[in-house]
């Protein structure tokens, strides 16, 4: 990805991004869904959008996946 694309992506905000608190509230459900059916992003698109943007929450998600795998 070019630097300009990276900058554009960073500045782009999605109104459906629910933020860290709502993501934390659902991350256990999201992770179980992903491991069981692989369609968590379809079921919870807002959470998926947040995880694509928020580095700390995405790392927590990877930690949860690792613990349950």
């Amino acid at each position: 990805m070019s630097a300009l694309s990276k900058l554009k992506r960073f500045l782009k905000t999605d109104p459906e991004d629910p933020g860290c608190a709502e993501t934390f509230a659902l991350i256990d459900v999201y992770v179980e869904r992903e491991l069981a059916r692989g369609d968590a992003a379809d079921r919870y698109p807002g959470i998926a959008k947040h995880l694509a943007t928020c580095g700390p929450c995405a790392e927590d998600y990877r930690g949860m996946i690792s613990l349950l795998s």
Binding site: A3, L11, C20, P56, D60, L67
Partner: protein, 202 residues
Amino acid sequence: MLDPETAAWVSDLKASGPRREEALERLHTVLLQAARREARRRAIDSPVSGVELNDIVQQAADDAMVAIVAKLDQFRGESRFTTWAYKFAVLEVASKLTRHAWRGGPVILDSEAWLQLPDRFGFTPEEAFEQRELLASIQEAVQTALTPRQRRVFVAIVLNAVPLDVVAAELASNRNALYKTLFDARRKVRTFLVAKGYTEFE
């Protein structure tokens, strides 16, 4: 309908006397194991190890347990109880490890290191020169369109690359509030750029 294991956890933790004490002990063991695994996973990229890492694991398990006991009534059984409990351990490890790793590092929240901006997004010196007007407009947006708090958070996280959890601790705030602040700042900067004619940011 809770699965039998989850139902047993909730029932034991809501009981009283020795049954509850025994459940709390079991929960602490589960949290300690989860925190240790998560800390080891993250420690690959971290300078923290040995006794320091063990202390962080212990504190994370302790704090996760306090949070879980306080929030037990909010558990709706949408996941297994242990999965729900894990997320508190992961969050505590993340927060403590990040803050520990940054300990002693510069948390320069007010120094506007604008020269860092091209680097943060990977612009080469040639690209930064080509995009100098755009980069100057971003600086202008941050200085004129953001509130003082938004500016402070933007500068710390984007220019000084301070981790979100560290800035949250520094400002006595939390990850969610800081993310929202940065979210609004990003939106305002983009709106400013579009208004200046950078329509590719629409």
